[in-house]
Symmetry: C3
């Protein structure tokens, strides 16, 4: 049963890149007791923000969902490092926070955030079902379209 | 002493509805150790968002406070379910997060969020006094005027 | 070694004022287990918000960073009170949340939030390296330019 979650990632064709080194006085993950707290992740690919602008002005809702999915992949990268490489230690996705850059008249934040939530459940199954808060924001670092943070229980 | 909090709710004329089934790959509440994390709740009544638009453009500050109060009632619905129906198990309201849909020149977010905070203390007494973060947002899911999330310690 | 963090604060010429009494039905800090949760702090000095308006419209990015630094000092004030005056009990800065009041085209939120993060590491060293989420917001309570919240592990 070892590598159960790694096998699931392979099945989903998701390749977790090596985490980038921290570029400021904060870190991508902290551990306190059995909780892992992951810093807000942008939808970056190969170290570059891949989804910029506002939803739905510059990106469709589907692209916004792809962006939260990518942000969650980056959450996983740092979660795996926090687990010393063993994602099977994850007991529960406790909470995801989702931030969507959008104008005042946008209403479909939940659909955008489903990109992250659906991937969490695809990977972790029942243990991937999480509490979640999704809100709109006027702007995010580096003009990112979305940002996703996470809290996890590990064993 | 059993049903102490239920008695308080009756005294305040607050009837907690049956929680709605989750409609996506996230859940209204997760438990990790002695912590319960409740997903961001909209000011819904009977499954429909009852307070929409921006404060103070479309709603008065008083209506905004009524909206955070309603969101907190929805937090309680899911907290009660997480406690297997026994709200007396709540040891502490640890944190509330409040989000107010408003324009850039709004300044009275705290008064809006007091609708939730005042109800927390009315119900839980000293144990209801919580840490809190309140911010403005351009928009929320389904055009909700406010959103409230919570973290609780249970025994 | 007693007063290690107090000595560091003196070296940095930071004088923690006496915390203000809570003005509403919430409190600046709650403790659950080994976690301390600090309410969102505005960049106030002597009980008055010292940095108002939007970044970069009304404040430079450097002023924004000074504002998050001031907010973090206010976080420390309440953290110290939660530790019964002994900041040496802080084992880890677990998470900081940073909120920057700004227009939709702002992109340098991270630089603004570094004012808080850099101070955390200057004071707590390696234990000060934290998980962090930084987002833009249209407005904050009392027209504050920034707001910072925190979660800490204490022993």
């Amino acid at each position: 049963m070892a590598g159960r979650i790694d096998a699931k990632l392979r099945k989903l064709d998701i390749d977790l890149p090596t985490p980038m080194a921290p570029i400021a006085n904060y870190v991508p993950a902290t551990i306190t007791g059995t909780l892992v707290v992951i810093s807000g992740q942008l939808p970056a690919i190969d170290g570059k923000v891949a989804f910029t602008g506002k939803v739905p002005t510059n990106l469709t809702i589907e692209q916004g969902a792809a962006a939260t999915r990518q942000s969650f992949i980056n959450v996983l990268v740092h979660l795996k490092a926090a687990c010393n490489g063993d994602l099977d230690r994850v007991k529960r996705v406790v909470r995801l926070g989702g931030f969507v850059a959008c104008p005042p008249d946008f209403t479909q934040h939940a659909t955008v955030m489903n990109g992250a939530s659906d991937l969490a459940v695809a990977i972790f199954g029942e243990a991937g079902r999480h509490a979640r808060t999704t809100i709109g924001v006027p702007s995010l670092p580096l003009d990112a379209a979305v940002e996703v943070e996470g809290m996890f229980e590990i064993g």
